[in-house]
């Protein structure tokens, strides 16, 4: 198979071993922990009609089997400017620091790492020259940049400076590579094996089993509020609905339109499940973000929780918790729900983009620096910080949840121009229902009304 044919075929498949191998070389990723695939997920029929095969036995093997490429990006960079806007967490700090190391003398380096990056990015990349040469984004935050045409296609830069960059890392939109993904993330279950043993239950694989386990824990009087998920009103709560709704096999929009389609039976079931789960959560659950749920988990007050994989490193380290909690914490796939076959979760990538409104020299400098930033040295030094999409990555226990969720066929978070509007509407309009102040029907009608109004204002609906 020629590499061109291979590349074409790879477009159709996800996590296909052939696509993950370096060109002309076969690397074997043995020696890593194998995660058994969930039954019934091979050869899933994709919703868009594309057959997506899952030939791969284990995603963790896939990460290790990635191309062991050394890009042609050369450090130190002699000229240009590197100005990066990114979110703020450990893995990105490491990437940015490594990218900054690539700058030679006289090369300007500006790193702005902030959790408010989404609010800055459009305004910052609009002027010419743009304030930043690169914005580090995720599936959702790349959309506003693309809507405004503020990032450039990377195909030429890849051909020149990183021809061996695996397909897996390339995020393409309509045939143009628009971002280079370097880490994966998803929400999935965290379980306490010791508590499960106490009540004599297996690790749950469906949400119905989760409810069963939670009932048993409460009945046994082990914990008052054994469950938590990130349900803080706003973005977090919206994300939980989206995950659960996908688990129920729902479609967010009427096919081919921006008309929302969540006000239906699937939406009701989704809300009922969220309410049933949160009946086992602390009554403060509408204020829970990742920091809150991680603290609860580390304090040993939870037995089952649905949290981000990127928190795994922090929860499994020896800080902030007791050995009893840490040694019994296990990260497993997101459960399925209501007899569905896909895990109720969305897959996320984090990656870098290059601004459009900058000189080609700055773009080349930034691209090379960022390729260096996500290189093997960064990954090797920060193994536990993220689920890296890199050949240098040795998946540890903190990656098991994300790997298992991806491998079970979870869908990526939709990259739709109007998805953010729906996400906001969901985040704002569902809390009254979860507080028991309004019906599920009313909550869904409110979401529909709020989204429709926003989409009209933004010009997506007439």
């Amino acid at each position: 198979m020629t590499s061109r044919m291979l590349a074409n075929e790879c477009k159709l498949r996800r996590f296909d071993l052939a696509c993950l191998r370096p060109r002309g070389r076969v690397t074997c990723g043995s020696g890593h922990k194998q995660i058994a695939p969930l039954p019934g997920v091979r050869g899933q029929q994709g919703d868009m009609g594309t057959m997506m095969t899952l030939r791969l036995g284990a995603l963790s093997t896939a990460f290790a089997a990635l191309a062991a490429t050394t890009a042609i990006a050369s450090c130190p960079i002699e000229s240009g400017s590197i100005r990066v806007l990114s979110n703020e967490f450990g893995a990105l700090r490491a990437v940015n620091a490594a990218a900054a190391d690539c700058a030679g003398e006289g090369v300007e380096v500006v790193l702005n790492q902030t959790t408010e990056h989404r609010d800055l990015q459009v305004a910052a990349l609009t002027p010419n020259p743009a304030e930043y040469t690169s914005a580090v984004v995720a599936n959702s935050s790349i959309v506003p940049l693309m809507n405004e045409g503020l990032i450039r296609p990377l195909d030429d830069l890849i051909a020149e400076y990183a021809p061996d960059l695996p397909k897996l890392n390339q995020v393409s939109v309509g045939g143009n590579v628009m971002a280079i993904a370097f880490m994966a993330n998803a929400q999935h279950l965290y379980v306490r094996t010791d508590i499960l043993e106490q009540v004599g239950k297996e690790i749950p694989t469906t949400y119905e089993e989760v409810l069963d386990v939670l009932a048993a824990i409460e009945e046994a009087g082990i914990m008052e509020h054994p469950f938590a998920m990130n349900t803080k009103t706003g973005w977090n709560l919206g994300e939980e609905f989206i995950n659960m709704y996908l688990g129920h096999g729902g479609e967010f929009f009427k096919p081919g339109t921006a008309e929302v389609a969540i006000n239906n039976e699937t939406g009701l079931k989704t809300l009922e499940m969220l309410a049933a789960l949160n009946a086992y959560a602390n009554p403060d659950f509408l204020t829970f973000d990742s920091n809150a749920t991680q603290a609860l988990w580390e304090s040993g007050e939870l037995a089952v929780a649905y949290m981000w994989g990127s928190r795994g490193g922090g929860m499994l380290d020896d800080e902030g918790s007791t050995p009893e909690v840490v040694n019994n914490t296990k990260l497993v796939a997101a459960p399925t729900v209501d007899g569905g076959s896909l895990p109720a979760s969305t897959l996320w990538w984090d990656g870098f983009t290059i601004a459009k409104n900058i000189s080609d020299k700055d773009a080349a400098a930034t691209f090379q620096a960022m390729v260096h930033g996500i290189g093997p040295a960064t990954v090797e030094a920060n193994q536990s910080e993220a689920v890296w999409l890199s050949s240098a990555y040795q998946p540890g226990p903190q990656a098991e949840g994300v790997s298992a969720t991806a491998q079970a066929g979870a869908k990526p978070y939709p990259m739709l121009p109007y998805m953010g509007l729906l996400h906001t509407a969901l985040g704002n309009e569902l809390s009254a229902f979860l507080q028991g102040q309004e019906s599920a029907e009313q909550a869904l009608a409110d979401v529909e009304a709020a989204y429709t109004e926003a989409a009209r204002e933004q010009g997506f609906l007439q």
């Binding site: 477009k11 990538w349 010009g459």
Partner: protein, 342 residues
């Protein structure tokens, strides 16, 4: 002061006001009348680490053409003001026609984001403002009655709630009222209710926010009143004492009338400040139970898609709200002013 001198005197500040307040408000008015262009979307095959999906993207060239033709967007008139996210005239009419009782109608109204936020904003304003006035006066009288040596340190400590940044102050309290925090746990033990959570119920959240509001604003009223107390004429007080007035009577008939103009000032500022309540909602993560007009504006401008038209309309409604709130006080002041001039 002759009018001419007065004009020169305020010119620098007037220029700054026009440049930084008046023009931006005009810009906000204009933005509130427009909505975004129609977006031209095309289907595209998007691929990433997790496979390929058929999705849609915005057709940049086609959208750019629309933008060049109409840089401000589509004219929407007052459409944004009356839509569901703002005054919701149509939804109100439907709710009125369909509701069988006033209670049901009220329930429908409270389901609309603008009115939900307005209800909290007004409650907060009208409960906080009098409490701040009362508490501020009480602290000022208390401090004024202390021996001189203790006054300095007491004033400093009384001012602390105002010195602390509002967001930090509310975050600290947020952690303290957590079910695991010192206040939250103490309340559970005192009230013998292990399920009690100040963050879980809307009512308790409102009470928490109001208490926080009073706590953080009282020092402002205190400082003003304390300064005013230093100017209370000693002769009048002595005369009142000779006439046999008790301490309470002296406060009621001498001190309070003397401080009345200051009270008007504090009321004005507090009404304005409280109507714009924002930081505590973010600090206390209270969005689920309490939203204010300012919070709605913030929410519109945050996240992946910014809704400038919607935020502009809410801003204008907030300005109108402040104007309505202040009008009784302003009219009164204007009348007093005219009376004195005559």
């Amino acid at each position: 002061m002759p009018h001419r001198t007065f004009l020169w005197f305020i010119l620098p500040s007037l220029a700054a006001m026009i440049l930084f307040i008046f023009f931006p408000i005009i810009s906000v008015v204009i933005q509130s009348l427009y909505v975004e262009h129609e977006q031209v979307v095309i289907t595209s095959e998007n691929c990433g680490p997790f496979g390929c999906q058929t999705e849609t993207t915005v057709d940049l060239e086609a959208t750019q053409e629309l933008r060049d033709a109409q840089p401000l967007g589509r004219f929407n008139g007052l459409g944004t003001y009356v839509n569901r996210g703002h005054l919701a005239t149509q939804e109100l009419a439907t709710a009125w026609a369909e509701s069988e009782s006033l209670g049901a109608f009220w329930g429908q109204v409270m389901n609309l984001p603008f009115y939900r936020a307005l209800a909290f904003t007004l409650t907060y304003t009208f409960v906080c403002t009098p409490l701040v006035l009362g508490l501020g006066l009480a602290i000022a009288l208390g401090v004024n009655g202390l021996p001189r040596v203790f006054r300095g340190p007491t004033i400093f400590f009384s001012l602390l709630p105002m010195i602390v940044t509002p967001l930090i102050g509310s975050l600290i309290l947020f952690w303290m009222i957590d079910a695991e925090g010192i206040i939250g746990k103490s309340l559970q033990v005192l009230l013998d209710d292990p399920e009690l959570s100040l963050k879980a119920s809307p009512t308790l959240t409102w009470i928490t926010l109001i208490i926080y509001g009073v706590w953080s604003s009282a020092p402002f009223a205190f400082v003003i009143f304390y300064a005013g107390l230093q100017t209370v004429p000693g002769e009048t007080l002595e005369a009142a004492m000779i006439d046999g007035a008790s301490r309470w009577e002296r406060i009621r008939y001498v001190v309070i009338p003397h401080l009345a103009p200051l009270a008007v000032f504090v009321t004005l500022i507090q009404l304005m400040d409280n109507f714009k309540v924002f930081e505590p909602i973010v600090g206390f993560s209270a969005e689920a139970s309490a939203q204010s007009l300012s919070w709605i504006i913030y929410n519109d401008l945050r996240g992946d898609t910014q809704r400038f038209g919607s935020a502009a309309a809410t801003s204008m409604l907030t300005i109108i709200g402040v104007a309505i709130l202040l009008s009784p006080v302003l009219i009164r002041t204007w009348r007093d002013f005219n009376r004195k001039r005559v």
